[in-house]
């Protein structure tokens, strides 16, 4: 299962590659990175027939994480990809909006990579 990480911060890619270097090397986890909602949608289209787990930041210029979530949940009905929302702001408003839009899980920054790793391994 491919994990699509969407964040406008370029360094997220480096962080994920290093943090999950063993799992990547062992091919236990496979990451794809997008730096905006729009780019994520393009990649999603390319990976139309693959099962995808999406890890998305909420605060991004242009299309926000919530808009991306909304689009994915509306456009990919069968089977809807899992979407985990990541944001620096763990406030109730964003959490409620994300849940209402069909987010499967909700993580707050800074990411607890151990927890994330467990969740990803469980899901994949």
């Amino acid at each position: 299962m491919k994990i699509l990480v969407v964040d406008d911060e370029q360094d997220v890619k480096v962080l994920f590659q290093q943090r999950f270097r063993k799992e990547i090397r062992k091919e236990e986890l496979e990451f794809v990175f997008a730096f905006s909602g729009e780019e994520a949608l393009k990649l999603m289209k390319a990976m139309e027939h693959e099962a995808v787990l999406i890890l998305s930041d909420i605060n991004m210029p242009g299309m926000s994480g919530l808009e991306l979530l909304d689009t994915i949940k509306k456009n990919y009905v069968k089977p809807p990809p899992m979407v985990m929302m990541i944001t620096a702001y763990g406030d109730d408003e964003n959490r409620t909006m994300a849940k209402n839009l069909g987010a499967d899980d909700f993580l707050t920054k800074p990411l607890d990579f151990s927890l994330l790793k467990d969740k990803l391994i469980t899901l994949t």
Binding site: E9, D11, V14, L15, Q18, R19, R21, K22, N59, P61, G62, M63, S64, L66, E67, A88, Y89, E93, N94, M97, K109, P110, L111, F113
Partner: protein
């Protein structure tokens, strides 16, 4: 016998009658026709000589059938009549009166060697014969009215005669006159022929000078009073005096040619009649004027009754008007007595009016009523009108002079009063000014205090505005700091794990892997360092923003400044409104390099413009869900300027609002959401602080672009 006796008696009586008639001729009335009149010195008036024509002894024969100029003539058909007895009905149907008058007289020795002359005042033409010789002609008899020339008196001395005393002298007058205006009396008593001495001519010439004196005097006063009136127009009393002086001049002109008091010669009767009529009216008005002026001066107004009486009096005969004089005199005396407490000018005028009135009236009454023959008294009476008029004129002059003095005094008093009032006013004004100054000082101090408070409030407001914009940034700043901090945390955690992993690989002796891990660790450390600096910059920027401006310009990367504030503003807004999103477009001209600006101030301007842009698009988004907000920030360098443009595709600014956006405290935001100082402060910072310009281009419904122009 009886018949013879009757004839004898008749003849006797006839003879007797004829004999006595021849010796003592009588007229039809039985009056003697041969009376010889004897004149003594007592008959000779010292001035007017001997008036012959009213003496008894004259005989008269009408017509001109007989030349009666000889000494001895037939007196049949003559009658006793003297020239002063001529009546109007004696004229024939053509209005002509012609006849012969004869007088025989003797004189006593008092006339001896006294040069005597003939003169007369009436206008009849007369040929005068003395002792059978033509002695003097007055006028020309002519043959008819056309060739008739009336006598004009000129007071020239001609042909003296020296009459022998105790000798019978025969004086014959061939008398011709024509009626004028149906009246042969005309204006001067007919038959005024008299024998006069030199004294008469001296007196008449003396009178001539008196008339001339009156004429010149009244002319001078006429000029003087009119000049005075023209100079002081507002004085209605002066006008009255001036009009009166004109009437008086006219009166004196009439008098100058009226015969008795004429100026060296008289006028033909037809002119004299007019002048005398005017003179008589003017005399009446002279007295009425005294009444009018006295009334006017005393009561300060005209009498309506006077005006009415003046009109009526024109139609009243001259002598009838005399009846009024008495009442006017009483009235004037009454006014004079009552005027004791009045101003000097009023008293002077009333006294002079009264005096003039009484003198003139008395003189006239005496003259025309012939109350006296006393020459000295007569002379005084002749002069009374001159004296009366002079008193009146001088009185009026004194009145004018005193009136002017009183008016001047009044004016002086008024002026002094005014000065006093002005001084009081001035004192009042000074005291009011002092009070005002005190008040002004109080107010100024209050205002200064208010100003100080305002300044304090202004700085507080400016601080508030800073803090408000800082507040808007807080969320963005938190996000911006949180992200690098997360990286620092995450990279340091990962590095920690990598170190453990590296140790494991060392134990395994896989040096290649160890090297790879150490490279990763190094990269992580750089990342940590990078994000640490990133957080550091944000904190510094925040501090810089909230700090008071140093006012010092320093080379600044405008692109970085704009970019930073764009992101901070964006995240700030997003933090407050999760639903907000906008496309951010940046177009930075990299050739700008560093620009000398006050970074805190310019940052504040850029932040303000960006915040406004976000606010504008957000407002539009609220109404239109399909609206895609775009906010763009661009910089550009030209030869003259460096421009920083902040654009949005919001609703634009209405024209009315556009005029006010740079005014302090103007805001379109709901109460509590904006201080209204953002754009005004921005404008000041750009224009005053950086010699630049802050312009706005806007189109309603399409969007707005704010352009900061800074000198290159």
């Amino acid at each position: 016998m009886i018949k013879q006796s009757l004839l004898f008696i008749t003849l006797f009586f006839c003879i007797l009658f004829t004999a006595s008639g021849h010796e003592n001729p009588i007229d039809k009335n039985g009056l003697a026709l041969d009376t010889i009149v004897h004149f003594t010195k007592a008959d000779l008036d010292s001035i007017f000589g001997l008036r012959l024509t009213n003496k008894e002894g004259w005989i008269f024969k009408s017509g001109n059938k007989q030349d009666a100029s000889s000494i001895d003539i037939d007196l049949a058909g003559w009658e006793r009549l003297n020239p002063s007895q001529i009546t109007n009905d004696m004229a024939d149907s053509s209005g002509k009166f012609e006849g012969w008058f004869r007088l025989q007289f003797t004189i006593d020795s008092a006339f001896a060697k006294l040069p005597l002359y003939l003169d007369k005042e009436d206008h009849a033409a007369e040929d005068i014969y003395l002792n059978g010789k033509l002695f003097r002609q007055f006028g020309e008899k002519g043959n008819d009215r056309a060739s008739f020339k009336e006598h004009i008196q000129d007071f020239d001395i001609r042909n003296p005669i020296f009459l022998e005393p105790d000798t019978i002298h025969t004086l014959v007058i061939h008398y011709v006159d024509y009626s004028t205006y149906g009246n042969i009396f005309k204006v001067v008593p007919v038959g005024s022929t008299r024998i006069v001495t030199n004294d008469y001519f001296d007196y008449m010439n003396f009178l001539g000078y008196k008339v001339l004196f009156d004429l010149i005097g009244s002319f001078i006063f006429f000029i003087l009073f009119w000049l005075l009136y023209l100079l002081i127009r507002e004085d209605s009393e002066l006008l009255m005096i001036a009009i009166f002086s004109s009437l008086m001049l006219l009166l004196n002109i009439c008098i100058a040619f009226n015969g008795a008091d004429s100026l060296f010669f008289t006028l033909p009767s037809k002119y004299m009649i007019i002048l005398l009529y005017i003179r008589d009216i003017l005399y009446i008005y002279f007295f009425l004027f005294c009444f009018l002026f006295g009334y006017r001066i005393f009561y300060g107004k005209h009498s309506k009754w006077f005006i009415l009486a003046s009109i009526i009096l024109i139609f009243i005969p001259y002598y009838a008007a005399f009846a009024l004089y008495f009442f006017i005199a009483i009235f004037l005396v009454f006014l004079s007595i009552k005027s004791k407490k009045r101003e000097l000018s009023v008293r002077i005028l009333l006294y002079s009016l009264t005096l003039s009135y009484i003198i003139t009236a008395t003189g006239l009454i005496y003259r025309y009523s012939n109350l006296t023959d006393d020459f000295s008294l007569r002379l005084i009476m002749v002069y009374s009108d001159t004296i009366g008029k002079a008193i009146l004129f001088l009185g009026m002059l004194a009145f004018v002079a005193y009136r002017m003095r009183e008016k001047n005094e009044d004016m002086r008093q008024n002026a002094m009063e005014l000065v006093k009032v002005e001084a009081e006013k001035s004192a009042l004004i000074t005291s009011q000014n002092e009070k005002l100054e005190l008040k002004v000082k109080e107010r100024t101090s209050e205002l200064n205090q208010s100003l100080e408070e305002l300044k304090a409030t202004q700085s507080q407001l400016i601080q508030s505005e800073k803090m408000a914009s800082l507040g808007e940034l807080t969320a963005g700043i938190a996000h911006e700091i949180q992200n690098p901090l997360n990286f620092v945390n995450n990279f340091s955690e990962v590095s920690n794990e990598l170190v453990d992993e590296m140790n494991e690989e060392l134990d395994k002796g896989d040096l290649e892997e160890v090297k790879a891990i150490s490279l990763d660790i190094k990269q992580n450390l750089e990342k940590i360092n990078h994000h640490g600096k990133r957080a550091d910059n944000i904190v510094k920027g925040m501090l810089q923003h909230s700090r008071s401006s140093s006012g010092t310009k320093e080379p600044t990367d405008i692109n970085a400044l704009a970019d930073e504030y764009l992101r901070l503003a964006y995240h700030g807004l997003r933090a407050k409104d999760k639903s907000f999103n906008a496309e951010l477009i940046t177009n930075f001209d990299e050739s700008i390099g560093k620009v000398n600006i006050v970074p805190q101030d310019m940052g504040r301007v850029i932040l303000n413009l960006i915040t406004n842009a976000f606010y504008a698009v957000n407002e539009k988004k609220q109404r239109d869900v399909n609206f895609k907000p775009i906010v763009s920030v661009s910089t550009k360098k030209t030869d003259e300027h460096i421009t920083i443009s902040v654009s949005d595709n919001g609703d634009g600014i209405p024209e009315k609002v556009k005029e006010k956006i740079f005014q302090p405290f103007f805001t379109t935001k709901p109460t509590g959401q904006g201080t209204g100082l953002g754009l005004s402060m921005s404008y000041d910072i750009v224009t005053k602080g950086h010699d630049g310009n802050l312009k706005v281009e806007t189109a309603e419904k399409k969007g707005t672009t704010f352009i900061i122009e800074l000198p290159n």
